[in-house]
């Protein structure tokens, strides 16, 4: 119990430090942390569906883009906070709307199906934009300052992490993990698997929607090609896998490690860093097949697994 209290204290301290970042750090550091928190929010929300139920989704970019577009369309018409929240809610609603049929599809088929979904939404928005506005792409004026955006992402990132934590350690979470392990057995054991997956899908979509809405303002220019880019989904998966795929801590660590390492390399070796990064990913997988966190955890817990 004391250990747990210490842990909570430590986390609170980190959170407090994060709150203070804009006060003492340069804009560059703030923007780096903004980036970091964005990836944390995306990865933590991703594991709620994909980490816990094993339904690996490449659809995060669809929700990210949807949130971004929602914000772009409503910006200056509705208040900022409301826009961000509704960006998330739109994605939640969208995920709920398509959830049942989509989640009947399993395994690699689901992976590709969600990839198809995000490409589909991309082209849908391109055509919509042309029909509505005549051109593709929007410029957003009078966007909030860096600090506002930073605190927004901080809230969303913290929210995603806390949600992922509580889902994992709840009755709901046990249900989701059962689905991941043996979906039929879980169903026969009284778990309403369709509803559970559906809920997880919705929760998982809520956060990228908000992140997308915030990031649209940060970019101040968006077009469907960039906001629906599959790169977002791929990077989230890499982060989650590096962290060990199903842990709140793992996703956090995966996001932090990949963001910071790539930042460090990127500043030093503009031409080589992607190659080094690719090699690091392969290296980690080869020598730590269960994620970077796993060997450390094993050492700490001394649990024979």
């Amino acid at each position: 119990m004391a250990k747990r209290a210490a842990l909570y204290g430590f986390l609170a301290l980190i959170l407090a430090l994060l709150c203070l970042v804009p006060a003492f750090a340069s804009d560059y550091v703030v923007s780096l942390f903004l980036d970091l928190l964005m990836w944390i929010a995306l990865t933590e929300s991703w594991i709620i569906l994909s980490g816990y139920t094993g339904y690996i989704s490449l659809g995060h970019s669809a929700f990210f883009g949807l949130g971004a577009y929602f914000m772009a369309m409503t910006w200056t018409h509705i208040p900022y906070a409301l826009g961000v929240l509704s960006g998330g809610l739109v994605c939640l609603a969208f995920a709920f709307a398509i959830g049942f049929p989509f989640l009947r599809v399993r395994g690699p088929y689901f992976v590709i199906l969600t990839l198809g979904l995000s490409e589909f939404t991309k082209y849908l928005f391109i055509n919509l934009e042309i029909k509505l506005g005549g051109t593709v792409g929007r410029i957003l004026m009078m966007t909030p300052g860096l600090e506002t955006l930073y605190y927004s992402v901080l809230i969303v990132g913290t929210g995603a992490t806390i949600t992922a934590y509580f889902v994992k350690n709840s009755r709901f979470g046990i249900g989701l993990f059962s689905i991941k392990e043996e979906e039929d057995a879980a169903n026969s054991l009284g778990i309403n698997t369709s509803i559970y997956k559906w809920l997880a899908f919705g929760i998982s979509a809520f956060f990228p929607g908000m992140v997308g809405a915030i990031l649209a303002l940060r970019r101040s220019y968006i077009d469907p090609y960039t906001v629906f880019s599959p790169a977002v989904s791929f990077q989230v998966i890499v982060m989650a896998f590096l962290g060990g795929f199903e842990d709140v801590e793992g996703a956090l660590l995966g996001a932090v490690v990949l963001t910071l390492v790539s930042e460090a390399l990127w500043a030093q070796y503009p031409y080589y860093y992607m190659i080094i990064l690719g090699a690091i990913v392969i290296f980690i997988v080869k020598f730590m097949p269960l994620g970077v966190l796993h060997p450390i955890k094993q050492r700490l817990l001394k649990e024979p697994q």
Partner: protein
């Protein structure tokens, strides 16, 4: 609609479909035998295209000869990658799920390395060359020689690989492995050899596709991803592990796209093909032809 236009549409669909099929069959071979989703497939196409380009522009090597050289080169990459990374990982993986996710990561790493290496070595410039640009008329439909050639090679290679699976002992062993990994090992099939073989074959087919595409499309280090996505869609349409399904799926997608476009507007093509794809998967969650080997 006049007849030549219909023929034009059909031939365009078949040609693009043949190339889709070639790309998808290579990808599906690796997925079927090893359960590895190769998201670096498009990058191998890119490498194949570059090698063909350089051989042609620097040494005047005809792309016809490059087809063989590039296939061999890609197979060699496949051999190295398979032997140095995947065989050890398959051996040590604790479960199929861990293997599947880790292989995804490794291929991701490879795709990043390949595309950035290409950009570093050869700059990110758009490249291209002209080869066999004479136009040829079949039933009044104009076709450029290079596209016709690409189509024929793609179809022949697809049919050959299909026959390989159907008619030879090796092919039967591969099919057995695709159907039931454990049982096939019990009856004495050398899984290790088949892994390496199908890996190399899959890579060679990607390289070959790159060689063919380089004759008429532009080449850049980051050209791979769209091809990977198309290949994924085709193999899912045809059924994972189902080589015949991929062949058919490639043609189906090619024809659907061109016919759909000619009926509506080319701008709607992606929406059309992705919505058809999504609908098919929702109705038939295991692809049109399902799993299994024909």
């Amino acid at each position: 609609m006049e007849l030549t236009r219909i023929l034009q549409i059909l031939s365009a669909g078949l040609i693009i479909g043949g190339i889709y099929a070639l790309i998808a069959v290579g990808l599906n071979l690796i997925y079927g035998t090893m359960r590895l989703l190769n998201i670096a497939h498009g990058e191998l196409i890119m490498l194949g295209a570059y090698v063909t380009y350089w051989l042609y522009t620097l040494y005047g090597v005809s792309p016809l000869i490059s087809m063989i050289l590039v296939s061999a080169f890609s197979a060699l990459i496949g051999l190295i990658v398979c032997w140095s990374i995947f065989l050890p990982i398959i051996k040590t993986s604790k479960s199929a799920a861990v293997l599947e996710s880790n292989s995804l990561l490794i291929f991701f790493g490879l795709s990043v390395i390949f595309s950035n290496l290409a950009s570093l070595l050869w700059t990110a410039d758009i490249r291209g060359y002209s080869y066999m640009t004479k136009v040829f008329y079949i039933l009044g439909v104009p076709l450029m020689h290079n596209r016709l050639l690409a189509f024929l090679v793609a179809v022949v290679v697809c049919i050959l690989s299909y026959l390989l699976l159907q008619k030879t002992m090796l092919g039967k062993a591969i099919r057995a492995l695709i159907q039931d990994r454990e049982a096939s090992q019990l009856v004495g099939i050398n899984a290790r050899f088949i892994y390496i073989f199908s890996f190399c074959l899959g890579f060679a087919m990607a390289g070959l596709a790159g060689c063919l595409l380089s004759m008429f499309y532009e080449i850049t280090p980051f050209m791979g991803l769209p091809y990977t996505i198309v290949a994924f869609i085709v193999i899912v349409l045809g059924g994972l592990g189902n080589i015949f399904g991929s062949l058919m799926g490639g043609f189906l997608l090619g024809l659907l796209e061109t016919i759909g476009v000619s009926l509506t507007s080319p701008g709607l093509r992606p929406i059309l093909s992705y919505s058809i794809f999504i609908l098919i998967i929702l109705v038939r969650p295991k692809g049109i032809f399902g799993r299994g080997v024909y």
